[in-house]
Subunit: 204 residues, 2 copies
DNA sequence: ACTTTTGGACTGACCGGTCAGTTCAAATAT
DNA sequence: ATATTTGAACTGACCGGTCAGTCCAAAAGT
């Protein structure tokens, strides 16, 4: 009944884990299939038994990872709403959820950012879908906030959503790479202040 | 006896331009030296006459590009200051300068973002220096703004600077890749609104 | 109970091909 | 004259993908 045996699922999981860190470190094309297999404790042929090609392994990895991210963002938004919080509060909670995700899966985030804007690559279309999934969660909250009256009607939803996602992404990676002594709360506080407009102040 | 003749400088320039687009498209390791030479209209041997290695060509490219960026940001800040504008105004001008830069040199930005957070690479130290150069310009303006009283003393300068840079970077790349029909003014307006706190509505 | 068969999962040597880097003699520019 | 470029040949390493064969647990046959 189970088309994928537990044994096979286990092997796949090990390959994902090996691939994600290696590709984050060295990039897709300078990571060899043999290396991935070796780190997963498996023979090279096994990779090709489980995946059609190196790219396919990578694409499935992307789908899997972004699935985790959007679920986590959505959950943060829902949980805030259930508590009767406003949309700005939801955005704030999503920022924190994003930071937590990146903290937990730093390699995946690195790899996502590094590959997202490349053109002409085989997995371009996969990335497009996957990006849209992530941004859509933020866009939805912004839309609701505008309908709500809580957010100004002037805001440009797609652009603002992209900017917010970018802010979190880059701030988190930077935190990780260059300011790792700071706490998650520090980073969250700094981003939250930006979101609430306590940096550029409200006038003019 | 110019240590670098104009002829040589010209060849270098052509190689930079060829390398930047190719590497942005396909990544460092799947771009071959022969390809770069061919696109530059130059023989492969010439590459090795002008640069020690492929990596060295890439590192010099990074230094060259970030030099252009920081100069452009600094100029925007200075020009605002000369007009008697405040620090928030300077930040706004820098956002625009950043967007313009990315619009003019999209390939360089792609490549920078894709390589910045990789670990264990040969040019890691070059990237660190180069990133610090770019972020420092923003940090300086923030510091002045705090000293000024124009910005709250509560803001966390390194984290806020990183977040602002990230916001611009990702918003611009996203604009380029997924929303290219929007005008530069639209994108600038959206980011400006975030900076001025007109999204999360400010008082508290 | 016990042998035999089956087929999914895995292995690793191997193949065709690519690429960075080196070398160099001849050509061309300054 | 000297600096720079050319273009082609060559090397040695590496890499993605293939494939004939091994392993083994469970089903089928006796």
């Amino acid at each position: 009944m189970d088309s994928t045996s537990t044994r096979r699922r286990n092997t796949r999981q090990k390959l994902y884990e090996a691939a994600v860190t290696l590709i984050a470190e060295k990039g897709f094309s300078s990571t060899s299939v043999e290396e991935i297999a070796e780190r997963a404790g498996v023979a090279k042929g096994t990779v090709y038994y489980n995946f059609k090609s190196k790219s396919e392994l990578f694409e499935e990895l992307l789908r899997y990872g972004v699935g985790l991210l959007t679920a986590s963002l959505q959950e943060a938004a829902d949980e805030t709403a259930a508590r009767g919080g406003g949309k700005v509060e939801s955005l704030d909670a999503m920022i924190r959820a994003g930071l937590l995700f990146i903290h937990r899966y730093p390699a995946f985030t690195q790899l996502y950012v590094a590959e997202l804007w490349r053109t002409n690559r085989a997995w371009q279309s996969t990335l497009l879908v996957v990006r849209q999934q992530a941004v859509a969660v933020v866009e939805r909250v912004l839309t609701e906030g505008v309908a709500n009256g809580e957010l100004s009607e002037e805001i440009d939803i797609p652009l603002t959503a992209a900017a917010l996602v970018g802010m979190v992404l880059v701030a988190a990676l930077d935190w990780q790479a260059f300011q790792s002594e700071r706490s998650l709360d520090d980073v969250h506080a700094a981003l939250s202040r930006l979101l609430h407009g306590r940096v550029g102040g409200g006038r003019s």
